[in-house]
Amino acid sequence: MATNPMHQFEVHRIGPEIKIGAIDISFTNASLFMIISSFAILFVFNLGSKKKSIIPNKMQLLAELSYTFVSKMISDTAGSKAKPYFAFIFSIFMFVLFCNMFGMIPYTFTVTSHIIVTFMLASFIFIGVTIIGFIKHGLGYLKLFVPSGVPVVLLPLIVVIEIISYLSRPISLSVRLFANMMAGHTMMKVFGGFVISLGIIGGWLPLGFSVALTGLEILVAFLQAYVFAILTCIYLNDALNLHH
């Protein structure tokens, strides 16, 4: 029968066990692909920023297009005040995108299919945005939980809902990315398994599905990175410009 489709998500140690006190920080395949993704990003963008020609070559064009793409996304959603956080959002977007894309290569490990990784990324954003909000507005940032124009009777309920929705942001952000990546990769594995188990007669349809799913997954890989980044921008916008 087909191999376990969840097998691809297993983390295993590469090299010796590293321990600091009782904490295990061994180098794993997840760490390997984080490093590979980061190096790939740095490699591409270093190559793209080396030459400073007026008419860019391909790598420079790639780097500059990504730069303007992210900077336009930020200015559209969070305004000009968000400019100091450009590098952070750019890094998040590129990291998620490259991890997703590397996951599409067969026999690789998808870093972003792990809830702990996406949750950590979302927590960076959540904590960062909360700190920025309190620095910019002081205690006035708490007004975020009190929408204007709400009847006083409803206010306690609304405030509770707002607080819950605010606190659930990192969870929704991380689960969205994690679930998308996991579901997609599991589906691909399942259909791949069908191709083998149905053999030469029945395997063509799942093969077709598999090919289609690969295309879809590449789209999803990009889209989820984009969604991750744009939600970061929206949260940042809330912190920078208090609308309520």
Binding site: I23, L42, N46, S91, F194
Partner: protein
């Protein structure tokens, strides 16, 4: 038909798979906390390095490059605009010069023409004056001759009649009697001889 078989086989194998999966799996590996700390640790390190290198080294270069290009393009547009304006002014100047010169040429032409016309008129007048003087002189002379001619004619008539008489009859006639007859005749027939 084939489609139906396909879907049924897929559905069946999916059921098998789920069963097999449920039997052998110990749940999602993502929820196994064994390597959570390690993942957090490595994520923080790699993402931290990525963020620092991108924000400090690479992104400033890209943005700098973009800005340089933007300013360069703006500069180029500006210089192009400037040059266009300059050329437009030059064209205007050129047109003005041509217009001026045309006007000047016209003026010269007109002046010269007037001058020449004046000259011609003057000369014509002079010529006219001269001619009329000459004509007057000639007329005067003719008048003089006209005035003098009766006397002379009378004289000639007297002489000829004297000669005629002499030859015809061989007698010397007194000049004064002949002249009296001639004068009398000429006075009588003056209008007949000199009438205009």
């Amino acid at each position: 038909m084939i489609k139906k078989i396909f879907f049924q086989t897929i559905f069946l194998s999916f059921l098998f798979l789920i069963e097999a999966f449920a039997a052998e799996s110990g749940g999602m590996p993502q929820l196994n906390p064994e390597f959570w700390v390690s993942q957090i640790f490595w994520l923080t390190i790699t993402f931290g390095i990525l963020y620092i290198v991108l924000s400090k080294l690479i992104l400033p270069k890209i943005s700098n490059n973009l800005e340089i290009r933007k300013s360069q393009i703006l500069e180029n547009i500006e210089t192009a605009d400037k040059q266009r304006k300059e050329s437009e002014e030059k064209i205007k100047e050129y047109n003005k010069i041509i217009q001026d010169n045309k006007i000047k040429a016209k003026n010269y032409y007109n002046q010269v023409r007037e001058k020449i016309l004046k000259d011609i008129n003057k000369k014509k007048e002079n010529l006219d004056n001269d001619l009329s003087e000459e004509i007057k002189k000639a007329e005067l002379e003719i008048q003089n001759l006209k005035n003098k001619s009766p006397e002379k004619i009378t004289k000639i008539a007297i002489e000829t009649s004297n000669d005629l008489i002499k030859q015809l009859i061989g007698v010397e006639v007194n000049n004064s009697s002949i002249s009296a007859i001639v004068e009398d005749l000429s006075k009588r027939k003056k209008s007949e001889y000199y009438g205009n």
